[in-house]
Each structure stands twice: as C-alpha cells, then as structure tokens.
Symmetry: none
DNA sequence: AATGAATGAGACTTCATTCAT
DNA sequence: AATGAATGAAGTCTCATTCAT
C-alpha cells in the first residue's frame, strides 16, 4: 500500500470517527446538542482538528443525516428480492423498513422531521408523481397493483394509497422511536400486527 | 374583583404573552431557537422578568408543548358529537386531527418527535392499555367496534388497530408538515383520501 | 438625581471606560489588535458584559474613531477665533491641527488611512465642492482669499489650494505619528517651520 | 547552470510567488487580512511549506513592504534624468511618485502608516540629515537649491523645505488612495495642480 | 522539497441565569 | 413587578506554528 493510500485511509478513518462520535452524542443527548467541542472531547482531539476533515459543523450534520438515510434506503432496496408473493413482499418491506430505522433512531427522526429544502429534496414522497420518482413508493405501488388483480385501478388512487402506506409506516416508526421505553414484547406485537395485517389491509381494495 | 384576583389575572396574562411570544419564535425560526432573550425582546420586557413567571426556560418549553397538545386533544374531543355513524365519526375525527395539527405545525412536530419523559408521559399511546388511558385511542377503538358489529373482536387486536390508525394519522400529519411546500391541491387530495377512505379501510376487518 | 439618571450616568461611564480601554490598547499594540477580550481584561470584567453596552465589536471601533475625529474637529473649530490676521489664523489652525492629532495618534492614523465608506463619508475632502461641505477646507479657503486681496482668484483654484494644504498638513501629521521616535527638538523644528512658513507660502499666490 | 544555482533560482521564484500571493490578498481584502493559510491556498501549496522559505509571517510582511517601497524609489530615481530644468524635474518627480504609488495603493498606505522600527528604518525622512541619507529628499533638496540661485540658503531650512514637500506629497497620495471613489476628472485636476503649481510654490523662496 | 496532522491560543458572540435595587 | 448589571459556560471558527514523515 502506498503512503498516499494509507494516508487517505487514515483520513477516512478519522472522518468516520468524527461522524461516529457525532452519532453517539446525537443518540445520547439529541441531535440538536451535537457540538464540535463535544465531538472533539469524545475523539480526544482538539476542536480545531475537526476543521481539517470537515469544513464546518453543517457538513458534519449533513453527512450524518445522509449516511443514515442511505443505510435505510439501501437496506430497503435489498428486501425486494425476498418473495414473489406481493402480499409478503409488502409485509417484508414494511418490517425491514421499521427494523432498520430503529437501528438509527435519532437520524431517522431528524431526517423525517427536518423540513429544510436540502433534506426534503431527498425525503419527500407526498408530491404527485412520487410513485415514479421514489423507489420505495414505486415498490409499494407495484405490490398494490399485484394484490388487486381484478380491480380496475385508477392510477391516482393507487399512488395515494402507496403514499398513505408509506406515511403510516413512517409514523409508526417515529412513534416507536419516541416511545423508546416501550416494553420489548409490546413493541414486537405492534410491529408484527402492523406489518403483517394492517399494511395488507391498507393495500387491499375492499371488495365491492 | 379583589386586588388579588386581579393580580392573578394579570400574571396569567403575562404568562400567556410569554408563551405566545415563544410560539411565534418557534413558528418563525424553529422550536430549537427559542431563547429567553428573544422572548423578552418580543414582549418588550427584560429577560429577567420572565423568571418571575417561569422558573426556567424548560418550564416555558414544556408548557408550550403541553398547550399545543391540549388544543389538539380538546378540538379532537369536540368532534365526536358530530355524527352517530361510527364510520363518519372516524372520518371526521381524522380530518379534524390533521387540520388542527396543521395549525400548530412546529409544536406538533416537536411534541411527536420529542422523546423526553416529560413529553412522552402525555403523548405516548403505543403501550398496552392505551385504549383505556388515552381518550383519542379510546374513541378510535369505539368506532372500530361499532364498525365491525358481527365480528368477534379480540380486545388486544382492536387496541392494536386503533394504535396503528393513530400512528398512521400522526405520520401523515408529520409528513404534511415537513413537506410544507406541497401544492395545496395535492395536500387536499391526500387528506381527503386518507381520512375518507384509508382510515375506514384500516378500521374495517376484512370479511373472512 | 433620580435613580434613572444615575443609572444612565453609570452606563455612560461604563461605555466610556470600555472605549478608554480600547483606546489604550490601540495606542499600545495598534488599532488592529483591539479585541473584546483585551478590553474586558483591562476593565476587569468578563467579555460578555461588553455586549451589554455595545452590540458588537464594530460598534466599539466606530465610536472610537468617531470620538477621535470629533475631538480633532472641535478643537480645530475653536482655533479660528484667535486672530484677525488671516496669515496668523492659518498658522494657528495648522499648528492646532497637528498638535491635537498627535494627542490621539493611533486614531488619527486609522481615520485617515481607512477607506471604508463609513469613514470616508466623514473624512474625505478632495472632492469638488469640499470647500462648501467641509468646515476645515472652508476655513482654509477663507484664509487664502483674505491673504490674496489683490488677486483675481479663480474659485476652483482656491479650493484646490485649500485641499492641497489640508492634504499636506495631514501628510506631515501622519509622518510625525509614524516616526514616533523622532527627537523632540527636530519634531518641534519641523512643526514650526511647516506651520509658520510653509503653509503660508502654499497659500500665497506668487506675484506675477 | 549548476544544480545548485538552479535550485536557488527555484527557491527565489517560490519566494516571489509567495510574496505575489500576499500582495494580491492585500489588494483584495486589505493588508491586515493576509494570512499564511490564504497565501498557501493561492499558491496551491500547504501552509507548512511557506515556512521553508520564510521563517514566519512577519518576515513575509516585511519583505512585502520593502519590495513595495523599493519599486517606488527605483521608479522615482529613474525620473530624474528627464529634464535639466529643476522646476520641471520637481514637477515630474512629484507626479511620478504619486502615479507609481497609486499602482500599489495598499502597500503604499501600509508602508507610510506603519511605525514599526523595521519599516521606519526605511521610510523615515523627517530626521535631521535626511537630505543626506534619503535619496528622494536629496533630490528635492537639489531642485530647491537650483531653483533659488540668488538666495543665500541656510542648509537647515532647505532640508526642512524638502522634508515638507515630501510629507505633503505623501499626504496627498495617501488621501487619494483613501478616497478611492473620487471621480477620475477631479483626481487628475488635483494631481495636476499639486505637482505643477503647488510643489513649485513650496520650493520657491518668496522674494523679499 | 513538501505534506498532512495536530495543537493551543485566541477571536467574536449568544445564552441562561442570578442578584441587588 | 420590573430592571439592568453581571457572570460563566459554551458555541463556532481562524490562525500561526510545529513536527514527523
């Protein structure tokens, strides 16, 4: 390994250490109380050095959120191959989404509460046409279509249904994060019920 | 009116002025940037005097959130009398909830993202037994029962359903708040679809 | 004295203490090295309190310059009543200007080197029409006119002459400030020669 | 060319690049905001390397000022050969000085405001005997002598006159730099009047 | 010759809070 | 009831400089 690659790797590691420290603080005291000083203390360096790796605090926060969001979407995307049955696919997707989100609670909460243009740009899914632009909504839409073969589906309604499902899942997830002291058993019960039954009910058009 | 009651009333007014100022700041610059100084500037008093009415900043924030939550639940409670039809009741409740929440977006978002014990104490509804302790969940549960007369309902499942509906509604509301630049027409379409159709579908047990 | 006036006076005193401290620092280490911290240390208060009296550092610097400039112009204005002889008036004005400036060397140097609009607004005197707008130039112009009774004076030239004299005087003053280690005797010789002879020569039109 | 000389030349070039970068920064954001980092960024090297060529920041600033001053005096020196007429020589020298100075406004202003020993060492000219040690003063003195052939000139007075002229010219130049938004026409008028008429009047002893 | 990591000091500023009046 | 003075902690950031490589 050349000196340069080694240096780059070290720098990369430092960056990750900084982000990790920030993440920790976020999980302990809340995202809003992340500070350069606290990060520095955690990584046992002076605050100044942080500016060697990030140009300012904002960049750190951005990357933090981005990495969180990325993790979520990638793990979600990988879940689609699991089943051929649309109902099960929807179930698994929902469950995966919730479980992955619960691994990065603070970032998830922030990402989905933040309404700054920069974040919204990535996270919005209520706009008309979201089922084309947002992979997750698209995937849900496909499940819905497959689950209602005999129906004459109006495109707009299907999208609205998919969006509702996504919003509902996100809502439950946020609530699970906020109520972090909920008993494990109850937590499991809710996740099971929601992803196994509720979500399917939402996706299935009521028989006439 | 005695001098004392008058004083009390004045004090009450001052408290409300302070909270109102805080609310304004929250809506303008975000909840996190509420500061004693800014409040003082807004009410045109010195920062010190605020400590006459509140023992510290936290108390102000708490009461702010509480009042926001209160407004929401009271307006919700009043909606129940509107209809005798459980389906319509659920529809109206949902719509009312969303609309009222959109009037106090910042506080709503905060209340439902905050996971500090003090807030959670009031806002949690995923715990087992919530349909007894939480008016809103209780009301939803009643609607569900009325809407599924012929079913043999397992108590636990009904509560889980009610909780899911509540979480879903909250999720959609949060998303609507975050995506504040959504077009009005689309916003309306989503609210209509969700409260008129989606929520009913969630509440109705699928025929066997 | 009412409590309020007393408070105001105290506040005024504090402001002046702060400015005095700043002035001292400026004279010791240079204007550029004035810092809130150093001021605080000098007045034996915490840095924070300074923001009680000035909204930021800039305001302090501005007032510092302004006060320096003010002192100069007022002392200059008072010199005009001394003599009825225009030649002597010019001499005295010049001398007064130099001597007063040497009492506030740093501020003088700054004020007359600074080219920021805010400062220039007050200190510029090379523009056309300056003999109407600038008291000092106006006074010099009057001396020139009185000193050249038999000449047919072209207005524009008189102003240019006045401006040249002002610039020359300022230049010498600046140089005296910069060369602060100049021997007193030599310093005196130069000031004497310049204000007694040179300036008169500049003001007198050469006989044809 | 030997390797060594080549190295030296490279080193020399690097030094000049550094100084050039510093000069640019000075002209853009002001002399005071020159920083090692900014220089480094401009020459596209790391800050550290600068310490290879200069032992610290101060040395850079010093050389910067010195080089500016040098440029000025050399261009001044070259003007003397233009005319045999002492009056015209003085005129041309004055004009050249002003014009050259206006090409390096920031450095000129700094050089002539700075009172640190290192700078003063080069720029002072008010001391007794300056007409021997300072080329410019010497040249002015010679012009004065040539312009007043019939006078019995007292040596001291001639030097004082030369010094006054130099200070006056410098003063006008500084003022022209500070009032950078002065209209071009007016600027020209002043420079013309000062160098064509004023300076001659200063140099010529009044007839008895 | 050149780099990148690191430091420590210091810059301005905002904040919540206390206290005497 | 209300003020104004004051503090101390914390915030972000910039800087000159050193050192090992």
């Amino acid at each position: 390994m050349s000196i340069q690659t080694r240096r780059e790797r070290d720098a990369q590691k430092m960056k990750e250490d900084i982000l990790a420290a920030a993440r920790e603080i976020s999980n302990q005291d809340g995202f809003a109380s992340i500070s350069i000083r606290k990060i520095a203390q955690k990584i046992e360096y002076t605050p100044s050095i942080i500016y060697h790796y990030f140009s300012n605090k904002e960049e750190i926060l951005e990357q933090l959120l981005e990495s969180g969001y990325l993790k979520l979407t990638t793990s979600l995307a990988s879940s689609k191959r699991i089943s051929d049955n649309p109902e099960d696919t929807l179930r698994i997707m929902t469950r995966t989404y919730i479980e992955e989100a619960l691994k990065i609670p603070e970032e998830f909460a922030i990402v989905h509460s933040d309404s700054s243009p920069n974040v919204i740009k990535h996270t919005s899914f209520l706009f008309e046409g979201a089922s084309e632009k947002r992979k997750a909504i698209h995937m849900i839409k496909k499940c819905i279509i497959d689950m209602n073969p005999q129906e004459e589906l109006e495109g707009g309604k299907v999208e609205l249904t998919a969006q509702s499902i996504a919003a509902a899942t996100m809502g439950l997830t946020l609530k699970l994060i906020a109520e972090k002291n909920l008993e494990e058993a109850q937590k499991k019960k809710i996740i099971d019920y929601f992803s196994d039954e509720m979500v399917v009910r939402m996706a299935k058009y009521p028989g006439k």
